[in-house]
Symmetry: C2
Subunit: 221 residues, 2 copies
DNA sequence: ACCCGAATTAATGTATACATTAATTTCAGG
DNA sequence: CCTGAAATTAATGTATACATTAATTCGGGT
């Protein structure tokens, strides 16, 4: 029994994946019919998917010009990170305030462990995955569904830039220490500390990322 | 020369207006064909509009059940206000940091004046409009387009509740004082104060609103 | 050669017919 | 009278034909 998904849902997922992986290049434009053929369906579900993806900030629908894959400029990065910093800090604060048990925080601890292991082995890609899991787990522990949705949408918008800089950045020892500190603040229920730590972590990440992009002359990702 | 808007855009705006004004009652369900007939167009643009409105958190599309106008529970209110508080405080901080001139802050000052006048005359509805203008102006001065979009979407979600409680609440003298204080912090470029003041303002507003809803037994708006 | 308006064209926007599907009803068998 | 499988139905999901529209091309007048 294969699960029943509508073509519209598939189109949303597939196009999102193509955009995030840069297979649909940032800045490029594509006609509805082109995308429909590519996905093996008619224009209707593709149109619907594009409207949703536009709302999610991944594309821009320009009449007669096609679907434009939105590139992210340094200014965009700042906008996005500004909001992300704020919202993820809120998530950290909320999680800390819940005074969760070690058991409930196991997901976070696990992700931290995986990050450390990956780093020891020099597996930068595995590290990035564990890092993403940590942030995702933190977000979900916040329990605020709206918060979860927005943060995910915004993360999608900067994922290309992150992937691109993954191998350009210094070895993220500091990042691991940050996560450990944050975990401890959360475990002892110190909401203010959790918030501030996460905020600092994000601001640092943003500056690292924008500096890297600038250094490599990437004005649009 | 009247401007050319697509039916999809019209459907989005019209349905949004119907939802916010509660003409489409919260919790009610509506078939695509019903809405299409009501708006005088075919199902296609209505479907597209509903997908967008779903993304904006105003409706839920349930296959074969119709389009459900999402009601807002007290828990939802908390979720929404939590995010709004965070994001509008960020806006206030950003505006203060820009060290804007009195001229550039004229829109805020004007809105404050209108609020005071409305209050003196006891015109609570005019006060609410001026209040909305103040917040909108503040948001736009932040200059972060993504911030603007999210906050507007979230405000839409709680607008029904606000309208409902407008005549149930005490005369908002405190609110006016809050705005004045915030304006002064912004004018002197005190970002931290602007942030904290706005945060306190929003938290107070949330508690007032949820208390009012509880008092009147409104568990779903 | 250049300008400007008409014709063309290539895309989206919209309606509609049809396919699919999940809920409901019906009806045979116990 | 209950059960559950099949038929029915009522809705969405999808493809497609057609309408609309804005960009482009074409062509005649200067």
């Amino acid at each position: 029994m294969k699960k029943q998904r509508s073509n519209t849902e598939r189109a949303i997922q597939d196009l999102r994946a193509l955009i995030i992986s840069n297979e649909l290049e940032a800045g490029s434009s594509h006609l509805e019919q082109e995308l429909a053929t590519r996905l093996g369906m008619s224009r209707t579900p593709v149109r619907e998917a594009c409207l949703v993806l536009e709302e999610l900030g991944l594309v821009e629908v320009i009449p007669r010009r096609g679907i434009r894959i939105l590139p992210v400029s340094p200014e965009d990065m700042i906008e996005i990170y500004e909001v992300l910093t704020e919202l993820e800090s809120l998530a950290a604060e909320r999680v800390a305030r819940q005074q969760l048990s070690t058991q409930e925080l196991a997901g976070l601890a696990l992700a931290i462990g995986q990050m450390e292991q990956a780093l020891e082995r020099g597996e930068i890609e595995a590290w990035a995955e564990a890092d993403a899991r940590f942030h995702d787990e933190l977000l979900h522990l916040s329990g605020n569904r709206r918060l979860i949705r927005i943060v995910q949408a915004f993360n999608d918008q900067v994922r290309r830039a992150r992937n691109l800089t993954l191998y350009l950045r210094p070895v993220p020892h500091k990042s691991n220490a940050d996560h450990q500190e944050l975990y401890e603040a959360i475990a002892r229920g110190d909401a203010a500390a959790a918030r501030d730590l996460h905020r600092a972590h994000r601001i640092y990440a943003r500056e690292l990322l924008t500096a890297l992009l600038a250094k490599h002359g990437l004005t649009s990702v």
